[in-house]
C-alpha cells in the first residue's frame, strides 16, 4: 500500500505528478468545447473539466487553464457569451484528441480535425454534428481561482440538441445508446458498460435496482 504525503507529492517529477494528480478523482466527463470569435472564426477543443453544477437553473461548470492554447476559447466565451459542449464517440475519438494540439490562432480545429459545424437559429456558437448529445450554454459567471490561476467558467444550458432516441422517458440521457466516452487522466479513453441503476435510497431499506421504460 502506497501512502504518498504532501511533501512527497510536491517533490515528484513534474510529468509523473501531472499524470498521478490528474487521474486521482477517477473518470471524467469528456466533451468537445465549441466557440466562435466576434469575427466568425470557429474554435474547438477537447475538455475533461465540465461538471454538473445544478438543475434549476441548469448550470454547468468548467475549469479553464491559463495557458496559451485556451486563450482563443476563453476570449471567444468572454466576447460572445456563448459556447457548446458536445459528447465524444469511439468512431472519432482520435480526431477529438487531436483538437488538443496547438494549432496556430485563426486555424479552426473543425477543419483540421475533420468536424462539421452545426448551428441552431438564435445561437451563435457552433455545435459538433458528429456528436449525439450537444448542449449550448450562455455564460453566467467567470470565477477566478487564485490558488492556481485557473478560471471556473459557469454557463447556463439554453440549448439541448440530441437524437430523440437517447433521451429516456424520464429525461435521463442514455449514454450507452449515445456512445458517449469518458476519460481518465490526460489521455486515456474509455467506453462505460452499465452495471445498474438504483432506486432513491432511504434509511432502513435495501438498495434496489430499477428498470425504467426507455
Amino acid at each position: 500500500m502506497a501512502n504518498i504525503k504532501s511533501g512527497q507529492i510536491a517533490a515528484l517529477e513534474k510529468q509523473y505528478r501531472i499524470g498521478l494528480i490528474n487521474s486521482l478523482v477517477g473518470y471524467k466527463s469528456l466533451n468537445l468545447l465549441g466557440t466562435v470569435s466576434e469575427g466568425g472564426a470557429t474554435n474547438l477543443c477537447i475538455v475533461s473539466s465540465a461538471f454538473h453544477l445544478g438543475a434549476n437553473p441548469p448550470l454547468v461548470g468548467m475549469v479553464m487553464r491559463p495557458e496559451r492554447e485556451h486563450n482563443d476559447t476563453l476570449r471567444n466565451i468572454r466576447t460572445t457569451g456563448q459556447y457548446t459542449l458536445n459528447n465524444v464517440l469511439p468512431d472519432w475519438y482520435k480526431q477529438a484528441h487531436q483538437t488538443s494540439a496547438s494549432y496556430p490562432s485563426g486555424v479552426s480545429e473543425f477543419d483540421c480535425c475533420g468536424f462539421t459545424e452545426q448551428y441552431v437559429p438564435g445561437f451563435l456558437a457552433p455545435f459538433v454534428e458528429q456528436s449525439t448529445v450537444r448542449i449550448g450554454l450562455k455564460l453566467r459567471e467567470m470565477v477566478p481561482v487564485e490558488l492556481n490561476g485557473t478560471t471556473i467558467v459557469i454557463g447556463e444550458i439554453v440549448e439541448i440538441l440530441a437524437d430523440d432516441s437517447v433521451i429516456g422517458k424520464d429525461g435521463t440521457i442514455d449514454h450507452v445508446k449515445a456512445e458517449t466516452m469518458t476519460v481518465a487522466g490526460l489521455d486515456t479513453y474509455f467506453v462505460p458498460h452499465l452495471v445498474g441503476r438504483l432506486a432513491y435510497a432511504k434509511p432502513g431499506t435495501e438498495p434496489k435496482e430499477v428498470t425504467l421504460p426507455n
Copy 2:
C-alpha cells in the same frame, strides 16, 4: 432530433428536468466523501461532483448542495479543514449508493452502510478501507455560487493512499485495475472499458495510440 430551448427547459416537469440536466455532461467521477466532526462522529456520502482543478498545487474541486443532508459534511469540512475522497467498486456500489439516504444526524454511514474506517497518522478524516484509490484533502477555499446557492469546495491533496499495483510507472492511476466505477445522472452506475491511450497531440501528425509499461 430534439432541440430543447431555454424556455422549454424551465417548463419541464421537475423530476424530468433534474434527470435530463444531471445527465447532459456525460459520465462523472464517483467517490465516497469521508469526514469527521469535532466530536469524533464520522460521516460518509457518495458524491459525483469532484473535479480535477490543477496538478501544482494538487487541487480538487467539489460541488456541495445547500440541502440538509449535506450540512453535516459541510460543517465537518469547515471545522476540521479535512476530508477524504475514495473510489467506488462494483462489489459494493449498492452500499455506496445507500450512503445517499437521509440518515439522522449522529448516525455514521460507515456503520449503517457497512464500510470500514481507515486512518493514517497525522490526518483526522476517515478513509474507506474497501476502496483502492483514496485521497486526503486539506480545505483551501469555499467558493459560494450565488447563482444557485451551492458551494464549490476546493481542497489540496495532502494524502494519497492506494494499492501499489494501481499506480503506473508514469504515475497514472490504472482505474481498470483499481475497479473504479463512474456514474451518469443521479443513479446509473458503470464500469468503463479501455478504448485507447493517445500520445500528446501535435499539429500535422496523426493521433497515435501509446502503450506504457505498467
